[in-house]
Symmetry: C2
Subunit: 411 residues, 2 copies
Amino acid sequence: MSSYPVSPLAVTLPELCPVAGVKLASVQAGLRYTGRLDLSLMEFAPNTTVAGVFTKNKCPGAPIDWCRKILYRGKARGLLVNAGIANVFTGQAGFDAVKYSAQAAAKTINCTPEEIFVASTGVIGEQLPYQKIINYLPELYSKLASDQWKETAQAILTTDTFAKGFSLKTDIDNIPVTIQGIAKGSGMIAPDMATMLCFVTTDAKLPATVLQKLLNEKVKTTFNSITVDSDTSTSDTLLLFATGQTPNTEINDIDDPRLSNFSNALEKLLQELALLVIRDGEGVTKLIEIKVEGAVNNESAFKIGQSIGNSPLVKTAITGEDANWGRVVMAVGKAGEPADRDLLSVAIGNIWVAKQGEVLSDYDQDKVNKHMQEQVIKIKVNLNLGEGHAKIWSCNLTQGYIEINGSYLRS
Amino acid sequence: MSSYPVSPLAVTLPELCPVAGVKLASVQAGLRYTGRLDLSLMEFAPNTTVAGVFTKNKCPGAPIDWCRKILYRGKARGLLVNAGIANVFTGQAGFDAVKYSAQAAAKTINCTPEEIFVASTGVIGEQLPYQKIINYLPELYSKLASDQWKETAQAILTTDTFAKGFSLKTDIDNIPVTIQGIAKGSGMIAPDMATMLCFVTTDAKLPATVLQKLLNEKVKTTFNSITVDSDTSTSDTLLLFATGQTPNTEINDIDDPRLSNFSNALEKLLQELALLVIRDGEGVTKLIEIKVEGAVNNESAFKIGQSIGNSPLVKTAITGEDANWGRVVMAVGKAGEPADRDLLSVAIGNIWVAKQGEVLSDYDQDKVNKHMQEQVIKIKVNLNLGEGHAKIWSCNLTQGYIEINGSYLRS
């Protein structure tokens, strides 16, 4: 974990229970950080299925290449994660590091390398000392246990200031199942097809194709709807493992009504984890919820929401606790999406401050100013053009962000 | 001018000479600021032609609507500018403010309202007290003089910390002509079709159609190639006035070789003014020059350059004087443009630090670190995919930016 003060928006890690078919362990490998856990292994029961979404950044790390290459098989037996070095822009040597680590982990777990998923975050451009990782595999394997969730949630962090996890019980056709995940942020966060690292496991029995379709759908309104700084990581990885340990009915279609509880629970879990990432955004002191309504379609609403959520001027206004709705108007306009200034309405803290292109002279300014002092700031815009809507979560931009990112290499 | 310390990248206002056919004046109208010049009038000789480019923000101010509406006529006799209140998102009342001001200025100058251009910058959403402006017109008119450039360069500023102007002598077919302009920044700067306020005048005789084509071309590599904070203003206005006081040959085609000196001089002038805006970016301490080469085409190179120039993580790394080329790689990748990680090369301060997807183990780190301490930081990327190239100018992101923009309404 980072040496920076814990985020004022931090949430205590809830109790994370065993998930049938998942064993995990973490060690202090000293890959870049010292005196903290930084290397983790998860082992999954045979026949575990897997789905994944990854960054759309065109310069992804070697671990992303590896995971993409093996994902189509839909099978997973292991996951190897390190924090501190991202193994990005490391050329052939970086790819070799992934391959040799996966081979060694496969030998340890007794499976094929193509069943070992890998993920790394941290500095870009440094070679991963993979021999060190390989040397720690026996220790990791000997420590594998079903109760090591808290340690692993801590081991995957980089500049994060608190560990992030969430757990839910749900059912598939009345058979109880568990979904549980851990995640890390906390800078370079503007996902496009997933974000940073997030590992979700369930004991449910679901084919990889169903898992993948579910994940593709649910990532849109969760991890892909958050932004910290508009910078899309080269390492974004979201993996969903289903160990198949529960005797639930076989489901082969994501629209099967017997899957709806699970589907809703997965969305809820991903949203909770995504919001935890925002709550630990670098330098964050405010969480921003942006609702866009009345856009020409949902895609347009999403782009407008992103434009507001990424605007440095909106984000700094919120830091200053100024209800500067004029900057919201600017951000709507700069999105390049259909917008008619003279139909545009803006609400702050659920109070309309401007309607149809003009400030409302009689809105309750005191109430709006009071809302700006809260930790969760709500912005709503209505384009009054159509039915398109979207919800985006962002955070404010503070001195802390500059401090953290202006001295990252030296820290 | 702002109460913030003068930018460390400030440039002293050069001597601005009279431009034949241009008279100007500024007064302290107390529209929002007190104790400083904030309202200006320019009068142009009869038959002055005009060209303009404006923000592409979909929520532009009333002055933009007005200028767009009258621009097609290509004729200008006056320009009325105020600082402090942007007259944006002010509904019908805002448009009336523009119309009545233009009508009053037209009466003062003895022309039609459609020959009066108007521009406003400052806070969004506040009504412009246009009657005050109208009341100051007689005083402004009585003060009109050809030597009031310095005062007017100061009068148009908002959060700027220094006045910006540039002047050039050139010729059209061997007849000497002058081009001279003033500009203001300095936040909400990511132009898309122009930027903030910039007023350029020349004594050359050129048809409005030629002026407009020239301006459209030259704005691309100058004002549209700079970015401070990725936020596109609702007030961006760049106007070019040609008073026709010199007896130069009539030119009707921008490709006429007799226009090439003028064309080059105009580009030079716009570039100098654009760089002055960057040099006064809010909280700036470093100017960043980004060269993109080897992209699939120029448009793609431009988008990649913007992605680097707007990345908060690149900008904060430069604040921290860290040669964090990994963040440059990330920013190339997130642009969404064609890029092959394994062909990508990155240079800092003209020293290649990474080539073809991998860090160079033997690059001169000391020299690169020394470059990072300079005021002008040079970043070059080569995609090695094609012939596309672009040049973008940006600035770093500092505590000062947060300070200025977190307290704007209260200052």
